[in-house]
């Protein structure tokens, strides 16, 4: 029995690794084989994920298989798999979206000279992400946490001839690294007190006894630092919009649906541990709220279609954290699941437009006749409505769950922020949709037929169009229907949670209010961008102050730029390098010169005039006499 599960889990995990190794070592010259291999591997992962879900979905007891990875003194690191409802759900989500995105990439990346490398990195990501999902202990999770960061770096900088892409990759890696340092310190702190990093061991109430309350808070906040980095929350949020320099399928997979959600997943994974410290939870709630609102404002002024979805990713991740931090495990995880579906869909649709019109500018896409791309546009509208939280789409249900959790908070400010967020979300999502559906003018029927920057011809073969459309339709299904599974999911997830899930008050006015806020946003967007005589300029864009504040990302980037330039490059680095050259080397070279000079002085004693030599002899004799006779 158990063996089949273990074999399935191992197959699912190791197939992408094998694909990665084969692609990078042997098959780089045969891109189509690479693509096929990579897709087959991730398909195998999806198959085993579904098999595991079917076998263990109903079982209340989590399964854990571990072997020793490494032992060093008291420290033992295990490697293995941990199967409980949360990890199974996440595994299915990750494998499914990986598979769809890789199929979509067949069309999107067709003809790219780096296709083999692309699929290699995609397989690396799939392996790392799945291993992260199933990690039974925090160290394994950290290892793969770093590896998904690495694959993110490699994929953002995939078109390495573009300076902006390599710059964005570096920024993403370093900024998430900053969070990871906190995460690692948190792990070290937990290890020092607990001596164990098993997820199951950390999630027991007995853990609290091993810590001082303040130390526990510090440890939780340090681990949360890693979440802030990975999920691009305030203040480490600006790497994510830049990460859109990567190919669009990468954005869909890593930078919206799965990898950035790993932060939220970690929170959910350690939810009982996190809830031991109310202070830490309050901080998490505040960080989630701030990020949610900041990113929503940024999304209101940009015209870059991918940027809008990137900001909305940050914002929705903030929503998930708000749900978790306000005490509802289910709300956070549910929103994660629905978001993965509709956000991947949004990006894949955006990819179709970008691929076809060769621009990221939503206004230009609208003018060039974006609405003639009917299937992607309909899918994108659906997904945007889900994002906005309009019934009866999946996002409505999950966002409603988050709102209910917020409403249960004693302080009404969190609910207020949540409702404001819902309003802004609907506004910026439909601003984009309306600008494409209803452009102010449509240029003549000269759809561009030339080749684009990456050299693929635009008279695409039919199969390429098809492989890009099928994943859209598949992803539209959960966007439409996942909301109906709410109760199933709730009982499914509750089975894996050790602590009691707080019973949230049922507030009949809440769904109405929330969707009312969303509807208000939609209507405002209609007035500003949709109707025939709309000004097509948003309320936030009218004032120069707000526009530049939002477009400059609240000047967070400038702050980091200045920090790196002034403090690190021109401050500490110059200090150390200069210290090396002038102080340490200066002293050493001075010592060398001193040695040479003293050598000259000594040699002078017996080289020059005879009276000097006699004087030296005399002095030496005196000294010897003193030494021997006294």
């Amino acid at each position: 029995m158990m063996d089949i599960s273990l074999a399935a889990a191992l197959t699912g995990l190791l197939a992408p690794l094998l694909a990665f190794a084969l692609i990078m070592v042997l098959l780089r010259g045969r891109p189509h084989l690479c693509a096929g291999l990579s897709i087959a591997a991730v398909g195998l992962s999806l198959g085993s994920a579904l098999l595991l879900l079917a076998r263990h979905g109903a079982s209340p007891n989590p399964l854990e298989y571990s072997v020793q990875w490494m032992v060093s003194g008291d420290l033992a690191v295990g490697a293995g798999v941990f199967l409980d409802p949360l990890s199974l759900l996440m595994m299915v989500v990750v494998a499914l979206i990986c598979l769809l995105v890789q199929i979509y990439s067949l069309g999107y990346m067709a003809g790219d000279p780096g296709l083999a490398r692309y699929y290699g990195f995609m397989s690396l990501f799939a392996w790392a992400m799945l291993s992260l999902t199933l990690a039974p202990n925090l160290l394994q999770l950290y290892v793969f946490w770093e590896l998904v960061g690495l694959s993110s770096y490699l994929l953002i900088g995939f078109w390495f001839e573009k300076y902006s892409a390599t710059q964005a990759g570096k920024k993403a890696f370093v900024m998430t690294r900053l969070g990871d340092v906190a995460f690692l310190l948190g792990i070290l702190l937990v290890l020092a007190h607990l001596g164990n990093l098993g997820i199951r061991e950390m999630n027991t109430a007995a853990v609290a006894a091993a810590f001082e309350p303040s130390t526990l808070t510090v440890a939780i906040l340090l681990i949360f630092g890693g979440i802030v980095g990975k999920s691009a929350q305030f203040p480490l949020l600006t790497w994510l919009p830049d990460a859109m320099e990567g190919p669009t399928p990468v954005s869909a997979l890593l930078h919206s649906a799965t990898m950035v959600a790993a932060g939220v997943y970690l929170f959910a994974r350690l939810y009982p541990f996190f809830s031991l410290s109310p202070t830490a939870m309050a901080v998490c709630l505040a960080v989630g709220t701030i990020s949610m609102l900041l990113a929503a404002t940024m999304a209101m002024v940009t015209r870059d279609i991918k940027q809008v979805w990137a900001y909305s990713t940050i914002s929705q991740l903030g929503f998930m954290l708000m749900g978790l931090a306000s005490g509802s495990y289910f709300a956070g995880v549910f929103h994660l699941t629905t978001h993965a579906g509709f956000k991947a869909l949004l990006f894949l649709c955006a990819g179709v437009f970008i691929h076809h019109f060769e621009t990221n500018d939503m206004v230009a896409i609208g003018r060039a006749g974006g609405r003639r791309q009917l299937i992607p546009l309909v899918c994108m509208t659906l997904a945007a409505a889900a994002l906005a939280g309009l019934p009866p789409l999946s996002g409505f249900f999950s966002k409603e769950a988050v709102m209910a959790a917020l409403a249960a908070q004693p302080n009404p400010i969190w609910l207020g922020a949540g409702l404001l967020g819902a309003f802004l979300t609907a506004y910026y999502a439909f601003r984009l949709i309306f600008l494409i559906w209803f452009p102010d003018r449509v240029s003549a029927e000269t759809a561009p037929e030339n080749t684009d920057a990456h050299g693929h011809a635009h008279a695409q073969p039919r199969w390429q169009v098809l492989v890009m459309l099928v994943p859209l339709v598949v992803l539209a299904l959960p966007t439409l229907g996942l909301g109906g599974l709410q109760t199933h999911l709730m009982s499914f997830l509750a089975a894996g949670l050790t602590g009691p899930e707080p019973v949230l008050p049922h507030l009949p006015w809440l769904p109405l209010t929330a969707s009312g806020c969303a509807l208000a946003g939609l209507i405002l967007a209609w007035f500003e961008f949709g109707r025939r005589r709309a000004p097509r300029i948003g309320f936030a864009e009218r004032s120069a102050f707000w526009r530049s504040l939002f477009a400059e990302r609240w000047y967070i980037d400038r702050f980091y730029r200045a920090l790196v330039d002034r403090v690190i490059d021109r401050g500490l680095a110059r200090l150390c390098a200069g210290g090396d050259r002038h102080v340490i080397d200066g002293a050493v070279d001075g010592l060398g010169r001193g040695t040479v000079a003293s050598g000259k002085a000594v040699s002078g004693l017996h080289r020059i005039m005879i009276q000097h030599r006699l004087g030296t002899m005399f002095a030496v004799i005196i000294f010897l006499a003193l030494y021997f006779f006294i």
């Binding site: 490494m70 003194g73 290892v143 001839e161 570096k170 390098a577 340490i584 060398g592």
Partner: protein
């Protein structure tokens, strides 16, 4: 006299293999470059096979000293030819074998004074192997100097950027180190009153007074620490790395710096454990400064080899921090880091050497876009840089992790600083990649070919080793533990 007839003298055979290579090269006429290279490859390959064989034959369940060979040499002074390996020296032997072989292969395109180059390289490596396996203080000192002396010529003749200055600086620094080590050895041998240079005999716990141990450890720490790149005695190392030719940089950063750390371990910690306990806080302080200082200084460099040089200072700081924790985990991490860092810098210098031989520049500003013209060659550079950043599943990650864990218990502040330095190290390594490998195609470099399979072989081996020990760290940790646990258990507290 103690070589038992049944046991094959594996350790001495490594030395004889190096000497055999040296003599064969000297006998060959100097213009037969190909033959000299093949002979070098053969003998260095043979040493690699021998060290691998030791790695496989060493019985980890028994632990302790194995493959012991002992021949009395000067009985009146108590000097014996005494070799043996334990869990500390075996990784170093393996490291030396790998780096030596790959360094020889890396120099396949050398055309200038080929015979002298390989002869000196063999002499150098003989000293290195001898030092790692020797258990007699006299021989340790002799091997130390044997390994230092060829270095001057190798850098001064075959080097580049400011080679005379670099060679002279390096030699003077290391001689200053040996000027501290020799008094340390003589002092302890005389104080012991045993009339022997036998390390195992001198290791008896009650032999030296606390003061003698403190003094002895200090002399060894500074003396060998210079070679290990301990801050503030590190400035020879970036300069020396930059000036040295590729293979010498590889051996030098890969193996010679490890001799320093190994010397601290073998002489300082084994002979003067009380001194170790006494000086550990100072070691931790200097090591942490080195870690942080190295990454910041590296950030300002514009020569790619300088960048690697400073990252070495930082990485060797991690070794020092591990040793300073006085714990099993710390020692394990430190020795693993010595091994992992050796392989990593060898790969780094090897990859840079290939690029330098083609482009004739090491300046970051003049490179760029290499991934277009030589994707495989720059791929090796990328892997080396990622290992340097400490990406998981590559060897040095585990070493750094264990050191962090161990040091966090003893020195939480230093550990925090060392972990924070990871961000800066990522920043500067990725900058190097961005300026060398990435960017638009560089017209000046467009005609250059990518690395061929044969020339890529040394880098391939190094990458395979990094991945092997990165994916299966237990292979190395279990070996090191056989030495570190008894050492810590025998510690007077």
């Amino acid at each position: 006299m103690h070589i038992s007839p049944t046991a094959f003298p594996w350790l001495s055979s490594i030395l004889f293999c190096c000497l055999g290579g040296l003599i064969t090269i000297l006998l060959l006429p100097g213009r037969r470059h190909q033959e000299i290279k093949w002979v070098s490859a053969f003998f260095s390959g043979l040493t690699l096979v021998l060290t691998l064989n030791l790695f496989l034959l060493y019985d980890q369940r028994v632990g302790g000293l194995q493959f012991v060979e002992r021949v009395s040499w000067i009985p009146s002074l108590g000097i014996t030819y005494f070799n043996g390996i334990d869990g500390f020296s075996l990784p170093m032997l393996l490291l030396s074998g790998i780096v030596f072989f790959t360094a020889v292969l890396t120099m396949w395109e050398l055309e200038h004074r080929v015979k002298e180059f390989f002869a000196l390289l063999f002499l150098l490596v003989t000293g290195v192997f001898g030092l790692f396996m020797s258990l007699d203080l006299f021989f340790i000192f002799v091997w130390y100097d044997v390994s230092l002396f060829p270095m001057y010529l190798l850098i001064a003749i075959w080097g580049s950027t400011r080679k005379e200055y670099g060679a002279m600086k390096l030699t003077l620094y290391l001689l200053a180190g040996s000027a501290l080590i020799l008094p340390g050895i003589v002092y302890l041998v005389v104080q012991s009153g045993l009339q022997t240079f036998d390390l195992t005999a001198l290791m008896r716990a009650d032999l030296f007074s606390p003061f003698e141990q403190k003094l002895g450890f200090f002399l060894f720490y500074i003396g060998f620490g210079i070679l290990a790149g301990v801050w503030p005695f590190h400035t020879w190392s970036p300069v020396g790395h930059v000036a040295a030719p590729t293979a010498v940089s590889m051996v030098h950063a890969g193996v010679l710096m490890k001799i320093g750390a190994f010397g601290i371990l073998r002489l300082g910690i084994f002979l003067c454990p009380l001194g170790w306990l006494y000086w550990a806080p100072l070691m931790a302080l200097l090591a942490t400064i080195g870690i942080v200082y190295g990454v910041f200084a590296g950030l300002r460099q514009t020569d790619i080899k300088y960048v690697i040089g400073y990252s070495s200072v930082s990485h060797m700081g991690i070794v020092g921090l591990g040793l300073a924790t006085v714990s099993v985990e710390g020692l394990n991490g430190a020795v693993f880091q010595m091994f992992a860092h050796g392989i990593m810098t060898a790969l780094f210098f090897s990859a840079v050497g290939y690029i330098y031989d083609r482009t004739h520049t090491k300046a970051l500003d003049e490179l760029g876009g290499l991934s277009h013209t030589m994707p495989v060659a720059s791929g090796y550079l990328v892997i080396a840089a990622l290992t340097g950043i400490g990406v998981p599943c590559l060897a040095s990650f585990w070493a750094e992790l264990t050191v962090f864990i161990a040091s966090f218990r003893v020195y939480p502040l230093y550990a925090t600083l060392a972990v924070a330095a990871l961000v800066v190290s990522a920043l500067f390594m990725l900058r190097v990649l961005q300026r060398t490998c990435y960017g638009p195609p560089n017209e000046r470099l467009a005609h250059l070919g990518d690395v061929s399979l044969g020339l890529g072989l040394p880098r391939m081996i190094l990458v395979a080793v990094i991945l092997l020990f990165g994916l299966f760290p237990a292979l190395m940790f279990e070996l090191i533990q056989t030495a570190s646990i008894p050492l810590l258990n025998g510690l007077p507290r």
